[in-house]
Symmetry: C2
Subunit: 164 residues, 2 copies
């Protein structure tokens, strides 16, 4: 069907990790990388647009890190995905009918526009506060850095590259 990039997925987890530590000072990428099992180098890329969009801010130097600029309940997954996938549409013509001569009388375009709206609405229906609560429920505990990788290091979404 349609695929969601690791950029959006890892980015969503990155922000969720920061939401988990909201109000506790800056969080280091190295810690997030360890907890979320994503390389620091990759996280560094995700953090740039999030900062430019004003969703997070950074503290440089020792004991530095990143923090959310607002409460988790004020940030939706849709906002984060939107920032990370800026300018990407489901179909080129959905945002600009001028891109396709067919647009004015294209019935399929109406479908794509509607699908895009559905995706956006769904993503916007989840705030990071919601995600924190869902995570707590799923864990059954009080939720604090509960997720730990296996001792062999193999972990989450490890089959990203290999399997079709």
């Amino acid at each position: 069907m349609v695929k969601m990039s690791t950029k959006s997925r890892y980015g969503t987890r990155l922000v969720l990790d920061m939401a988990r530590h909201y109000g506790q000072g800056p969080v280091q990428l190295a810690d997030i990388a360890r907890r979320q099992q994503v390389s620091v180098k990759y996280l560094e890329q995700l953090v740039i647009p999030l900062k430019l969009a004003g969703l997070i801010e950074s503290v440089r130097g020792v004991k530095g890190g990143y923090l959310l600029t607002m409460e988790p309940r004020l940030i939706t997954v849709g906002r984060v995905v939107d920032v990370l996938e800026r300018g990407q549409n489901l179909v080129p013509c959905t945002d600009d009918p001028e891109k396709c001569r067919r647009a004015p009388f294209c019935a399929t375009r109406c479908v794509w526009v509607d699908v895009e709206r559905a995706i956006r609405d769904t993503l916007d229906s989840y705030t990071y506060q919601d995600l924190l609560e869902m995570e707590d429920t799923l864990m059954g505990g009080k939720g604090e850095d509960h997720v730990q990788p296996d001792r062999d290091g193999s972990f989450y979404e490890s089959e990203e590259r290999g399997s079709a």
Copy 2:
């Protein structure tokens, strides 16, 4: 955000073209290619899975072609996209939690599952009969092969490869 492939988009138009000619005998790919401005070779690829899925059937030889096996009102866009993108998920773990160790306590996964459902629901809410009627409304006419390419040949979705 997430992108929809040309496979799904052209395939949707391919079936819509066949729906437009439903009950009028087999339609040749060469004609669809001309009307929809997609190469015959590419259409040939799209037609294979649709035939295997039983949505269309073929007639070989001169005056042959393809036809829908059922009325346009019985086929949804979702069904066609599903056939063309078989085995593709929004995120690897949505169909099979086993693919990711994190799945049992992953809040973000719940979001992806919900988004996928929203996409599917929306795509399934449109039948080809709906699309035919939408097209008629958009055209303002009685709708029969009304869409013609420009004399210079440049046409629909021409910026597929070039622009970002």
